[in-house]
Symmetry: none
Subunit: 215 residues, 2 copies
DNA sequence: CGGGGCCGCCCCGGCTGGCGGCGGCCCGTG
DNA sequence: CACGGGCCGCCGCCAGCCGGGGCGGCCCCG
């Protein structure tokens, strides 16, 4: 059962959301709050899996509340709900650790699906927001990552596994346990990686992998 | 009516997709291709709204084809379809201009919804990919960098110098030459750094420094 | 003067990286 | 088909580097 709390200053909106979510058998609305401060207090008490927050609220707004919720001992997955998908909101929300951002015109079926997706540990954005994120993503910042990924393309399958482990800061022995091979084998792979990439030690390899987004 | 082409080297997969999509009244499959080259030729002829491409194909793969499709006079919206959501694929795909990236285990209902979303000019990613994009997004801002810098603030001046050298992939001896101190001294500083930061080896320290923008 | 923090150095056990070697798989060739 | 070469994954050995602990000198501050 997915436990959800609803946070919106308008009682009517909360009722509507509750009706939609209660129609799903695996979702249970376990509390409601009218502003951000109440939301944090409520979440601390009932420890929900998911918190649906309106952004615009009197008093503590949804973005501030999202950051506060992230500091709870057992933080809920935070989804922000708004009428307008302003870029600035989206940025602040994601920075605050939100894993969902939906528009209030989302169809009921999609809202339920989104809650399930979030509860499973994944993320869900409104399609229009996804599009703008992709544009930003494609436009900026991927240069170094792409170059790194290119260099790493010469590695074999097993070497990639080993490199990921190395890039996480594991020792050869730890990597061996994680990948089900002897430490001696891990070391051989590491040597091969260094040779193929023209590097001289594992730190350089780890950073390259890090740049490529492998860890 | 949304006009779609299917590109996959396995006829069975294409048939399955066609059956799913044909069950939607507003979607029409107007062509199929077995590899990337065929796909480009087909798209140029039938000018579909959406192209569903498998990534792994013999000959011209889906990523290469996606880039070629973007150069057509009336380019289709490109959606990539794959079994594994490797970061490297996602990066290349989005840079190639794809507006969708789905896993082959996507439920039929969601696939149809995704096609509609794409056709409307929005974007659609598999939830697991959305999540990783968000993590990267939140980290790319000064979020993680600030957290890393915070942790590094306990280091002394000389320890910072040593950490920068380590983060560049230098050995202790090299760092010693660069900083004008004995290798033994560098090693002592590295030990102190690891102790202060609660890490167990230099790779972890290097990555932390890297995240903080020190190298 | 005593104590704490920082810097520099040495010794030692364990880990890392280089080298050689083994078997299995794929593929082009005779 | 046989066979040989290349690549991959796997392993053992050895020199050298890394990380931990301990020691002394310097400066600052109480």
């Amino acid at each position: 059962m997915i436990r959800v709390i609803l946070v919106d200053d308008e009682r009517l909106v909360r009722s509507g959301l509750r009706m939609i979510l209660d129609s799903a058998e695996d979702v249970e609305v376990v509390g409601e709050a009218g502003d951000g401060a109440e939301a944090v207090e409520l979440a601390a008490r009932v420890e929900p899996d998911v918190a649906l927050l309106d952004i615009r609220m009197p008093g503590t707004d949804g973005l501030t509340a999202a950051a506060a919720l992230a500091d709870l001992p057992r933080p809920p997955k935070v989804v922000l709900l708004t009428t307008f998908d302003l870029d600035e909101y989206v940025h602040r929300a994601l920075r605050a650790g939100a894993v969902g951002f939906l528009l209030k015109d989302t169809p009921p079926r999609d809202l339920i699906a989104a809650v399930r997706t979030i509860a499973e540990g994944n993320a869900m954005l409104a399609p229009s927001i996804t599009k703008r994120m992709l544009e930003r993503f494609a436009a900026s910042g991927t240069g170094a990552a792409a170059a790194a990924a290119q260099r790493l393309s010469v590695l074999s399958e097993r070497e990639r596994d080993v490199l990921v482990a190395v890039a996480k800061g594991m020792s050869n022995a730890e990597a061996g346990r994680g990948l089900g091979m002897r430490e001696a084998t891990v070391k051989a792979h590491v040597s091969s990686i260094l040779a193929k990439l023209g590097l001289s030690n594992r730190v350089q390899a780890a950073i390259l992998a890090h740049d490529a987004g492998w860890a």
